[in-house]
Amino acid sequence: MAKIIAGVTTSHVPAIAAAIDLKKQEMPYWQPIFKGYEFSKKWMAEQKPDVIILIYNDHASAFDATIFPTFAIGCADEFLPADEGWGRRPVPKLKGHSDMACHIAQKLILDEFDMTVVNRMDVDHGLTVPMNLLFGDLGPDEEWPCRVIPFPINVVQYPPPTGKRCYDMGKALRRAVESYPEDLKVIVFGTGGMSHQLQGTRAGLINKEWDTRFLDGLTKDPVGLTKIPHSEYVRETGSEGIEMVMWLAMRGALNDDVKEVYRFYHVPCSNTALGHIILENK
């Protein structure tokens, strides 16, 4: 039986991709950001997961304006890094887990979460930046050390799913994983966030107090966080702070009681308050 052993959240700021690709990690601006993931990389190397289910949002890369799937799952055998306007990122292509992804898609739909099944798509910085932060700076000719199932959630076109819907979907995701017969170790990522607004005269909004309460709640009171309306995310943390609903999808897939192994919060990372937390199932 497959088992979810832990959950990871992290921001997926595209400027991190640029910093890695242009080898700026040791510059004074970037050094504290990458240092914040040193523990995490060691932790990940010890976990040796077989599969990462990586919840993120597509930023108009795989899905253009013709379609905005609310919950989608990548069932292909491999996924290439997207060309987001400056060429494909020099990172390894992802190896999917087609059999497990198909199993999860079917179980979720029968569990009344109506997934969009994606048989071909490129993956953008929303997915590749978290992979870099937790597994290091691998080049295009190398391989990520585990399989990855991309799990895009729409947070680009409003309304995105509610935080509660994401949390409940996480619970169903766990049931789907645990009904997969092969003994596989699975880690679920919920990415994006925290405070950031990329548009309009209010761009640059950062709300450290709110973010800190959200991080506290993620560990101890996720059900409380599911009651936050979309308007509060936007008002308090900026128009792109809404991405934090994806963290609740990850949290739903874990036990009610979890151990917070690590937390990192840093302002600024480009326009964003960078947040990162590691939760282990007790």
Binding site: A15, A60, D64, Q199, I206
Partner: protein
């Protein structure tokens, strides 16, 4: 909006200052503009666009306002015409600019001022929460 609940949902965002929410209506409005931006994910299209912007834009059936906003790189104008920041990112990436560069322009500050504000902890939410209650 006929649906009262949906009306309230959208109204709550309208009270937030300096923020355009990309909802399904704006998605319809900006469809051609956003699809033009998507086309810039291919190198051959980036080359064609850079070679002759006005000529390249002809095939995308933009409104006059959208066309002018693109040519003038009026980012706020593009958003008001239904553009979404993640689609517009393909255009500013083609220009060699970052999210922070464009965010600074939209706030009316220089990139240096904006970068300093971020280094100092970002824009304070106080006074930036509500049009109807600026003291919040």
């Amino acid at each position: 909006m006929a649906d009262k609940k949906l009306g309230n949902y959208l109204d709550e965002f309208e009270d937030i200052p300096g923020t355009l929410i990309f909802n399904t209506v704006r998605s319809r409005q900006g469809f051609n503009l956003n699809q033009f931006c998507m086309s810039l994910m291919k190198e051959e299209n980036r080359k064609a666009f850079k070679a002759n912007e006005a000529e390249y834009l002809k095939q995308w059936n933009l409104t006059d306002a959208q066309f002018k906003a693109v040519i003038n790189r009026d980012w706020t104008g593009m958003m008001q015409e239904g553009g979404n920041i993640y689609f517009l990112a393909k255009l500013f990436s083609t220009d060699g600019h970052s999210f922070q560069h464009v965010a600074a322009i939209m706030t009316g500050s220089t990139q240096e001022e904006y970068a300093k504000m971020m280094l100092d902890g970002g824009r304070n939410p106080k006074g930036n929460r509500s049009k109807s209650n600026p003291s919040l």
